[in-house]
Assembly symmetry: C2
Homo-oligomer: 418 residues x 2
């Protein structure tokens, strides 16, 4: 059993660059001769003792991992509760870590994962097990506290801004006799970060997107329809970007795809764009089209932001450095020192400050009328989509994404009945 | 009045590369000192005498036009009927052409536009007006007869294959605890060309897309659901690509967005993916997500195929050469001489052979079980998405798309009351 083993796990929704973070982790660990195990399907794999030996992957495979979207070892939507409520699972986790000589645990995810990593570090301390826990930021929702931005967001933001600019050119060309209103649905459960990023697609009131609907503002149907009509009459067409999480004044989500909830207890959304399109057609009679890019927006590595890609790799590398230096219960976060040109560095932040906080958009980012972004938002968002992350293509015209071997580590414990 | 004037008009749904064709037309015409007018909003602009003087655009603007999606002069969904039924409009068109000394008319579109260009050429001949009419191919639907492929299709196909590969990596990573079935809706009114292109995203039965639904095959719900369940049980998840145009055995579209029809009398579709997702959820209980890229798939210049882009420019250039050489009522089409490596050339085809024919997918392109593509389809499709069309980006992280000045030509005729 290697005494210098690090366990890396991915958590929650994957992104276009979470594997870049994984590649950053593995590359840096290799430089320090540290063995990296990866949990299959996130924390579930750690509980089930389904571990992957990343040392079986070639250097070329890890290099390709850095530009492959999705989550190469699998991720999951499983949230551990409090230490009291979920004691059996936390203890099983420690057992697995001990059995495989894991001294460093890196958990790559959002708010919930930062919380889990923090609790694991507390439990290890209580049990006297020498474990260093480091959270690694990731989420296209951009809702992590402390950090300037979250790896994954910048690429989804770039996808959004580019796609909205492109489809707006399409709508503009056809509006005279065809579609006059186009509705684009952006992800974002409680914060309108991605919808806001669409605002980078244009400048001035006549450039798309003409209207953005944020979850931070109550959806007012009459006001929305009046705005759409005004824009169509002035510009000839109207491009609307709506966050999936918009709610009416009574707090209810405007559209709910089936009304289910995911394993984190979050409502599972969808269908806002088609709802709005139906309203526009019924009330104003305009021909309407809508787009729901769904997972495309968070997996589109082909239009990833170079800034985001660099940061995703940097947090992975820093996480290993912090772990090896014994910085327990921290997360490498991105610290901005200038907007233009964008300057940033990585610094450690206590997990306690990140866990379970949700960063909402500052009120000063949304225009007074509620339908667009301010200059302040633009200054914040613009650097995050800058640069085009390099991507090798095959002769077949498809990106060269890697599929890892994911060789399983021999199990040492009885099967988990959790 | 210049005696050597060419009129160029775009028609029908725009694409990621129709402006590349426009740039090819303008560039070649400039080399021959021919003045190019463009009709604003397609044939409507020609009827309304709303013409644009492209000589007011700089060489840099025309170079940028070649990589700008959408339709720079506007397009429209207006179909002229037979010479008898629409005589007044055809005659008005000739009046406008005469008034502006137009000797060459280039109509850039699909089946309907080829038909219109053909009829205009017949009428001009009947009236003794010396006009050379050339159709220029364009459609993401790939349903034009004679030509190997249609400019616009290859880029939409590349978008489709890349997007499906990317979101499949996302779904694969999350399937253990989250989405198990993902449905991607591809454009394609009557032919499943784009859905088929998704098949390039993977090889073998376990790689996404696992199931493709073609309009060429009757949609059989029980068989579809059985296949989805089988794939989920075998692979762990299932990625479905469905053409918007799939119909049940009785010939009805599976889903119809509002039930309207466009100006061509074609049913306006949408919502197949959400329909299928609902069925999967209800019948099998799996968590399902779906994506409807809609206009994004035909405007995504950022992931355009180099092959497609080259062909789009080539047909524009050839159209001018044919026109100047007096080849009347023809269309430059793409002729394939080899699959791998792909070899193609441009050759003229009579408009009469292109107009009003719809190229459907050969039966040999769809797998026997109806849910995937054959090797023959792969050999045909693969070259069309090869190569990445270059695209300059600004420091803001967005593609450098151009907005033309579109300077109006002074009108010479009384307003049109058509």
């Amino acid at each position: 059993m290697a005494a210098s083993t690090l366990l890396y796990a991915q958590s929650g929704g994957v992104t276009a660059v979470i594997n870049a973070t994984a590649a950053g982790v593995i590359g840096e660990a290799r430089r320090h001769k540290v063995k990296v195990l990866a949990a299959r399907n996130g924390i579930l794999g750690a509980l089930r003792e389904e571990l992957i030996d990343t040392s079986k992957e070639s250097a070329a495979a890890i290099a390709a991992l850095a530009h492959t979207p999705g989550g190469a070892f699998g991720s999951c939507r499983v949230k551990l509760k409090s230490l009291e409520a979920d004691r059996a699972r936390y203890e099983r986790l420690l057992e697995v870590l001990k059995a495989h000589g894991v001294r460093w645990f890196l958990y790559n995810g959002g708010n919930d994962s930062a919380d889990t990593a923090w609790k694991v570090s507390q439990l290890a301390q209580a049990f006297g097990y020498p474990l260093t826990c480091v959270g690694v930021p990731k989420t296209i929702d951009n809702d992590l506290a402390v950090t300037d931005t979250c790896p994954g967001f910048g690429s989804a933001a770039k996808y959004t801004a580019v796609s909205v600019r492109e489809c707006a050119l399409d709508v503009a060309a056809m509006a005279e006799t065809s579609t006059k209103v186009f509705v684009y649905e952006a992800m974002g459960r409680h914060a309108g970060w991605l919808a806001a990023a669409a605002g980078l697609a244009g400048t001035g009131p006549d450039q798309a997107p003409h209207l953005i609907l944020f979850p931070e503002r109550a959806y007012d149907e009459a006001a929305f329809l009046a705005q759409v009509d005004k824009v169509v009459k002035r510009v000839g067409y109207c491009v609307v970007v709506a966050s999936e999480g918009i709610r009416s004044a009574d707090g209810r989500f405007v559209a709910d795809a089936g009304g289910g909830t995911d394993a984190f207890g979050h409502a599972q959304l969808g269908g806002v764009a088609s709802y709005l399109a139906g309203k526009v057609k019924a009330a104003l009679g305009y021909k309407v089209h809508w787009a729901l890019p769904d997972y495309l927006q968070r997996s589109a590595r082909h239009i990833a932001s170079k800034t985001d890609w660099d940061q995703a790799q940097a947090v992975g590398k820093a996480a290993v450095q912090y772990a090896l230096a014994g910085h327990n219960a921290v997360m490498p976060v991105i610290v901005r020192s200038a907007d233009a040109p964008y300057r940033w560095k990585i610094a450690p932040a206590p997990l306690s400050k990140v866990a379970n906080h949700e960063k909402t958009m500052p009120a000063g980012f949304i225009r007074k009328d509620g339908f667009g972004i301010t200059e302040r938002a633009r200054r914040y968002l613009s650097p995050l989509i800058q640069g085009e992350a390099p991507l090798p293509y095959g002769r077949d015209g498809l990106p060269k994404y890697v599929e890892l071997k994911n060789v399983a580590v021999k199990q040492k414990l009885p099967a988990w009945e959790g």
